[in-house]
């Protein structure tokens, strides 16, 4: 069992939030958007809908992403590595953006926090991993009262860290995605399945059949 230790070697921080425009969440409910679903949405809105609205069962790593917010999958831990203070597997939350999620690793160095997102593979074709880092940064800013300017993605396959700069543009993109996902979850309106190259790697391909729209449209039943 992990101990929820509240004491650690953090210096006191002064609060200076970046001047983000105040965000009004779409939903007035307590339904917080899971950071993982942002990634799914930017990968494919229809997939996001299938998983989070239609509750399509899938038995791969993604089921874990949807687990209830009250369960801890990893073990919380903290410690120092050289000069760097590290916290692993803690909850992240932002009330302003109604976001909730789980961090893989947060580092604190020279008075700065960095969220680090672990990815199994190598740098993917779709740059939606940065979205997740930025969403984590939004949560961390709210939780620590400090500005966060950068984070990292750690690709396990290549053992490389990739710097992610939390630019204004990335922030805007992330906030727009949060908004879109909240609208999706609130209305349940189905985004159309659209066939792209990404479909081949999607675990829901056989349920979604994105090619069916074209194929059925072109199909001429023989006599």
């Amino acid at each position: 069992m992990s101990q929820n230790k509240q004491t650690h070697s953090l210096p006191t921080v002064t609060c200076h939030l970046s001047p983000v425009t105040y965000y009004q969440p779409v939903t007035s409910s307590d339904d917080y958007v899971n950071i993982a679903s942002l990634n799914q949405y930017s990968y494919c809105p229809h997939r996001c809908w299938l998983i989070h609205c239609a509750g399509e069962f899938i038995d791969n790593q993604y089921t874990i992403e949807g687990t209830s917010l009250h369960e801890r999958v990893h073990t919380m831990s903290e410690g120092n590595r050289d000069e760097i203070y590290q916290i692993r597997a803690i909850y992240l939350k932002s009330d302003q953006y109604q976001l909730i999620g789980k961090s893989d690793l947060i580092e604190f160095e020279n008075g700065e926090f960095y969220p680090i997102e672990y990815k199994r593979g190598r740098k993917g074709e779709w740059d939606n991993d940065e979205l997740q880092v930025c969403a984590q940064a939004l949560c961390l800013e709210e939780m620590t009262g400090k500005n966060i300017n950068s984070g990292y993605i750690y690709y396990a396959q290549t053992h490389q860290r990739q710097l992610v700069e939390i630019t204004e543009e990335l922030r805007a993109n992330t906030i727009a995605t949060i908004e879109a996902v909240q609208t999706l979850l609130f209305t349940g309106a189905m985004p159309k399945p659209i066939k792209t190259k990404r479909c081949n790697g999607c675990s829901l391909f056989s349920r979604c059949l994105p090619q069916a729209v074209d194929k059925v449209g072109r199909y001429q039943e023989a006599n």
Binding site: E56, M190, A212, K215, V216, Y219
Partner: protein
């Protein structure tokens, strides 16, 4: 992936690690890994252990029960799919809606075209079989389907087409030991009808699995709309598959002498006919083989098995109902 049929009466179905074991008189007669199963069908009386029940439910594998005579009793169903959107679309189209008419036209057209195709193929294969008149009659009924907008009239066309088809079914049986006069059900009183009924029972289990997986409410149909308390949508979607899977299989088993008259038993008084244990084994083995056989799906343009096509057709139906696609294409194989 496949279905496990347990036809040995008084067997015990238990779980050993990750495998399902069927034991009879304390000896394991078959064991299969759970991961390879997508359905378990118990025929007659057997004991299913609680461990097997929970394992099947956890893995979303349905467990169906069919009695000794091949009557479908019911099933133990994993939790219903959370996809309420499919069910909502399904209910919204119910009754006399344009969507419902389109779907019913599809079911009836698919079935009758496959009927006709079966006759055409048999005619080609044999020199002394003359089905031209029946084929023409079926053609005429088929050509009326897309002009018919009333569901009742479509049911009439389906009935007329079936009458033509079963009217010449006896001529498709070249085994002199078997005779077919007309469809007799509940109970079937001759071997051919008993095979058809048994086959349709098995097909129902398979199509119901597909309908459930996709998230439909199995009890709300379009062609079978007038009766409640039966899985109407399953019966609807079965139509196009009856000739493709069951009828074709029954004809093969009879004509190639897989089954002989002594594979059947008949009850006193009721005259209900059913397969012997040995005959049932032959039928089940070949039914499963048939389901695993491959063909090129005319819509998707790629190879698939009949087993996969049940789910594929259910998904295509869901897509049409949800407005993703512009039509429902029934499975028609030339």
């Amino acid at each position: 992936m496949g279905t496990l049929y347990v036809s040995q009466a008084d067997s015990f179905i238990g779980k050993v690690d990750e495998r399902i074991h069927v034991k009879f008189e304390k000896k394991t007669i078959i064991d299969v890994a759970f991961i390879k199963l997508d359905g378990v069908v118990v025929l007659g009386r057997s004991t299913v252990s609680p461990a097997v029940v929970s394992e099947l439910m956890n893995r979303h594998i349905p467990l169906s029960f069919i009695d000794e005579r091949g009557h479908y009793l019911g099933r133990l169903q994993p939790e219903m799919s959370g996809n309420i959107f499919v069910r909502k679309a399904q209910w919204q189209a119910a009754g006399n809606t344009p969507q419902s008419v389109h779907i019913v036209q599809g079911f009836v057209r698919g079935k009758l075209k496959n009927y006709r195709q079966l006759l055409v193929r048999r005619q080609r294969e044999s020199d002394h079989l003359d089905l031209a008149a029946d084929i023409t009659r079926l053609e005429n009924i088929i050509s009326a389907i897309d002009k018919t907008e009333s569901i009742d009239s479509l049911r009439g066309l389906e009935g007329a087409g079936s009458a033509v088809y079963f009217g010449c079914f006896n001529r498709l049986i070249i085994n002199p030991n078997f005779e077919f006069t007309k469809r007799v059900r509940r109970p079937p009183t001759d071997p051919v009808n008993s095979l058809l009924s048994f086959g349709y029972s098995l097909l129902r289990h398979d199509v119901q699995s597909a309908v459930n997986i996709v998230g439909f409410d199995p009890f709300l149909g379009y062609l079978h709309f007038d009766r409640y308390n039966r899985p109407s949508l399953v019966l609807d979607l079965m139509e196009e598959f009856r000739p493709l899977v069951v009828d074709a299989l029954v004809l093969t088993l009879l004509n190639k002498q897989f089954l002989k008259p002594d594979d059947f038993i008949s009850e006193p008084l009721s005259n209900a006919v059913s397969l012997t244990a040995e005959g049932r084994k032959i039928f089940l083995t070949n039914y499963e083989k048939k389901k695993q056989s491959e063909f090129k799906h005319p819509v998707m343009g790629k190879k698939c098995t009949y087993r996969e096509s049940f789910e594929l057709q259910a998904r295509l139906l869901a897509k049409y109902l949800m407005g993703t696609t512009d039509k429902y294409p029934p499975l028609f194989i030339r």
